[in-house]
Each structure stands twice: as structure tokens, then as C-alpha cells.
């Protein structure tokens, strides 16, 4: 056989390997969570008790914990990621200051999550504890709010770097038209730039959300890891909780029987589906946006 043919086949083979890896991941996750699905059925996500000793597995507390931390983090991060996108996309797209800021934002994403977790545990937790004492809630220090704060910082780069690119793509003819009509800079941003990039910026927020849902280490170190769900609102926000990813991280090596392991794998499967779907929707929006 000619080298050329071999090389072409090798390339095709690599493409197939990639598909096989992903399909393999999916099949493994589904196959290993069958025992858990059989015993808990669809109640898995809605029942509230997680007790491995009694072999009862309900993921509801972790579902709520995951959604709560991710959405608080998202809400906190959106103003910042939008501000960065607008500043670096519109006000200051060139020059050393712009480069410096852009590089520092990329650096936020580069710092390993374990380092954020470690720092949060020793610096942020005592600060939060003091604040909690002052405002009169139980001073845990660790908890949903602490985890969300750190998470918010960690996910900013994903929405921001996309936002910068998209805002720079707004045709200058549109903006100049608005300026010619006498619009101020704020009005141009509000009524030309933002409407033009709205769906794209939303896609960036989705990518951030995908990151937040699957983030493990920093959250595990800061959220307090309790299997029960708090009863009142205050404890829900300030008190310890748990997320799906951190349950897996904490309990996977302790899972000593098949049922337990399978329940944890099912958590992983849920996490896999949710993050993948969110990411794919985000990516689809971006492709559509950049192609137009």
C-alpha cells in the first residue's frame, strides 16, 4: 500500500477514535448507572434522603446545591463579564492596557481550581465567617455563598473572552450610523451593540454555566459537604450544602457496594448530560452568530 493511502486512513482512523471515546464514555456511564436506575427509578432526582448505609439514594439535595451555587455564581459574574466584554470590545479594543487586562482575564481561567479552593479555605472563609457573625447568621464560613463567590470569579473568563470577540464583530457602519444621528456612546452601546450581540453574549453565559455546574475541586473545598438540605432560606444561602460534583469527589473512593457506586455514577451521568447539552447549545448559538 502507498504511504499516501496509509496516511489518509490514519487520519480517518483518528477521527473515528475520537467518536469512539465519547460514545464509550456515554455507554460506560449509562451501563454502570443501570443498577441505580432500576432500584430508585425516576425518583432518584426528587427524593430527599441520601443515606448510603441504608442504601437509600436521593439526589435532590445535591441537585438543589448544584443549581443554587451555579446560579448565584452566574448572577454575580454576569455584570463583570459584560463589563469586561464592553470595555475591551468597544471602549478600549487596542493598546497595552487592553492587552494587559485581556491577558489577566485569561490568566483567571488558567489558575488551577485547587488553588482557588485552597486560597478560599484559608483567606475567604475567615472573612465570610466574620461577616456572618456581624449580620447574625450561623458563622459556618464555608457554604453555598463562599463557594459561589469563588466560582463567580472562576467562570468570568469563559463569558468574557467570547463577549469581547463578539462585540468587536459589530459592524462599525451600524455604530457610525447611530453616532451620526447624534447618539451618545452609552446610547450606541445600549441600542446598537447590545441588541446586535445579545444572543452571542447569552451563549457566553451558557458556557460559563456549563463550567460552573461541573466545577469540582474549589467547590468541594468550600461548600461544607453536608448531605441534608437546609430548611430555611438563610441556611440555604449561608449554610453548608453539597453539589453533585463534590459528592462524587468525596464519596467515590468510599463507595463499597455496587448500589452506592452506581448511584454516584448516575450522578455523573446527570452531570454529563446537563453540561454537554448546555455547552452544545452555547456552541451552536456561537457558530450561527459568527456565520451570519
Amino acid at each position: 500500500m502507498k504511504w499516501e493511502t496509509i496516511f489518509r486512513r490514519l487520519l480517518i482512523f483518528m477521527g473515528v477514535v475520537l467518536v469512539l471515546i465519547v460514545v464509550g464514555i456515554l455507554i460506560t456511564l449509562i451501563k454502570e448507572s443501570i443498577p441505580s436506575v432500576k432500584s430508585s427509578g425516576f425518583g432518584f432526582l426528587w427524593s430527599k434522603v441520601w443515606d448510603p448505609v441504608q442504601n437509600i439514594y436521593g439526589a435532590y439535595p445535591f441537585l438543589i446545591g448544584t443549581l443554587l451555587t451555579s446560579f448565584i455564581a452566574l448572577l454575580l459574574s454576569i455584570p463583570f463579564s459584560y463589563a469586561v466584554s464592553i470595555y475591551l470590545g468597544e471602549y478600549n479594543p487596542k493598546g497595552w492596557l487592553s492587552n494587559l487586562l485581556k491577558n489577566s482575564i485569561e490568566l483567571i481561567a488558567a489558575v488551577p481550581s485547587i488553588i482557588y479552593g485552597f486560597w478560599g479555605l484559608f483567606v475567604l472563609v475567615p472573612i465570610i465567617r466574620q461577616i456572618e457573625t456581624k449580620i447574625g447568621v450561623a458563622p459556618y464560613g464555608i457554604g453555598v455563598l463562599t463557594a459561589s463567590l469563588v466560582l463567580a470569579v472562576m467562570i468570568i473568563p469563559y463569558a468574557a473572552s467570547l463577549g469581547i470577540t463578539l462585540i468587536r464583530m459589530v459592524p462599525s457602519a451600524l455604530k457610525e450610523g447611530a453616532y451620526a444621528l447624534g447618539a451618545t456612546r452609552f446610547e450606541v452601546i445600549r441600542s446598537v451593540v447590545m441588541p446586535y450581540t445579545r444572543t452571542g453574549l447569552f451563549a457566553g453565559v451558557l458556557l460559563s454555566l456549563g463550567r460552573a455546574l461541573g466545577e469540582t475541586m474549589a467547590v468541594t473545598m468550600l461548600i461544607g459537604n453536608t448531605p441534608t438540605l437546609a430548611h430555611n432560606f438563610k441556611d440555604l444561602i449561608f449554610g453548608p450544602s453539597n453539589t453533585m460534583a463534590s459528592v462524587i469527589a468525596n464519596e467515590f473512593t468510599e463507595a463499597d457496594h455496587e448500589q452506592y457506586l452506581s448511584a454516584l455514577v448516575e450522578l455523573g451521568l446527570v452531570l454529563f448530560f446537563v453540561t454537554v447539552i448546555i455547552n452544545l447549545i452555547g456552541k451552536r448559538i456561537i457558530t450561527r452568530f459568527t456565520n451570519n
Partner: protein, 281 residues
Amino acid sequence: MDARIGIRNTKSMLFKGLIVFLAFLITLPLIVVLLYIIKQGVTQVNWHFLTHVPTPVGEPGGGIANALVGSLLMVGMASVVSIPVGILTGIYLSENPHTKLAYWSGLCVDVLQGVPSIVIGIVVYLWIVKPLGSFSAIAGSCALAIMMLPIVIRSTEQTLRLLPPSLKEAALSLGVPYHRVIIKVIVPCGFAGILSGIMLSVARIIGETAPLLFTALGNSYLSYAVTKPMESLPHVIYTYATSPYDDWHNLAWGASFILLMFVLILNITTKLITRKWNIQL
């Protein structure tokens, strides 16, 4: 009329002020974290720290040699597998953008990029650790390799797509066989882009803890055996940071400092490469 223009201009200025304030405010946590890690870590690091294994609680000294060796070994093994596979897949995707297989592989790259690292950990546990019956460095590097792949593939694909088609056409018209065109012309032209993708992916996986938790596990002794549990930098930080002992916390600060330096150096070098490359084009 004048008053209204005044109000609108003020609004515009206030908005700009708010944007600038928020945009620069987010560098604050980064600076605080970096400075804190450097302050806490730099005093821990010396030759002894880099060449000795951790001591039991209460004994002075001790270092992170086992984690350093483990991290480098596992990242190295992961790179050996996923750099060639990633580059070849990237070439395939950029060369055949419209085939059905390319669509599905591209989709799979997107999926892999979005999968939480902890899920990769679970899967590799089920694939390798469970059948072999023991945690191992091989399993760890396999998980890292899977995390690395999408970054290498995407950067290769995007770099090669930017190359002008005339380059390939010129080489092909000289009668050069296809594989030699790719290896001798296309890849060298996109070398800087591919290299920066590789370095970014290494920077990303060297700090990954979650996929190693139930694959490589951890090991408080220096080990070169790839079928045995192995320590790694992020894992040593996790174990010692969550321990109740001050000695161990200090060890973890030192390890964080080393890890941070790795990541920073890799990222800055990547930036320099891409900048230089952009100027040449």
C-alpha cells in the same frame, strides 16, 4: 434642549465609569490570590523541598519530590499519547471539514471540552482502575490525556484552517505526495499555533485534581511504578490543604507556589510564541 444633552452626556460618562470600574475590579481577586500564594509559598521552596518526600506530622522538613515526579511523569505520559493523536485528528478536521465523520468528530470535540473533569475521572476508574483492581499512574495519565485531547485538536484545526490553500496547492502541483505535503509543509507552517495549543493543554491538565482523585489516587512515597498509585502536585495540595496540621498546610502552600509557577510560565511562553508568530505572518 441643552439641558437634555447635558443629561445624556452625563449618563454616557457615568456608564463608562461603571464599565471601567467593573472591568478592572475583577483583576483584584486574581492579584490577591496570586500574591497570597506567592507570599505563602515562596518561603517554603528550597532545594530540600524539591528533593525530599513529605515527612510524617511533627517532623520538620519534608518536601514534594514524589508529587513533582508524579505530576511530570503522568503529564508526560498523557502528552505522549494525546499530542500525536490530537494533531492528527486536528489535521483530519481541517483537511476534510465537510465529511460526515468530521461533523461527528467535531461534535465529539465539543462534547469532550464540556465534560466536567470529575466525570472523566469516573469513566477512567470504570475503564482501567476497576478491571486492573488497583489505582495506578496509567489510569491517571489516561484521564489527563482525554482532558488534553480537545484542546490540542481545536488549536491544530484552527491554526491549519488559517493557512492559505495556495500553500498546499503549490506543494501538490510539484508532485509531492499528500502525506509529505502535510508533514513537510502544512504542519511546519502552523507549528507555532500547534505548539501553543499543546502548551496550553499541558498548563490545563497539570492543575487538574478531579480526574486524578480516583485514578492515580495519591502516594506519600516516591514512586516510579506506573501500575501503582502515584502522587501529583494538585492532589498533594488537596490532601494537605484539607488536613488539620500547620506543617502540612505549609507544604501545600509550597506545592501551590510550584504549581502556579508551572502554569504561569507555560501561559506566558504561549503568549510570547503566539505574539511572535502573529508578527511574522
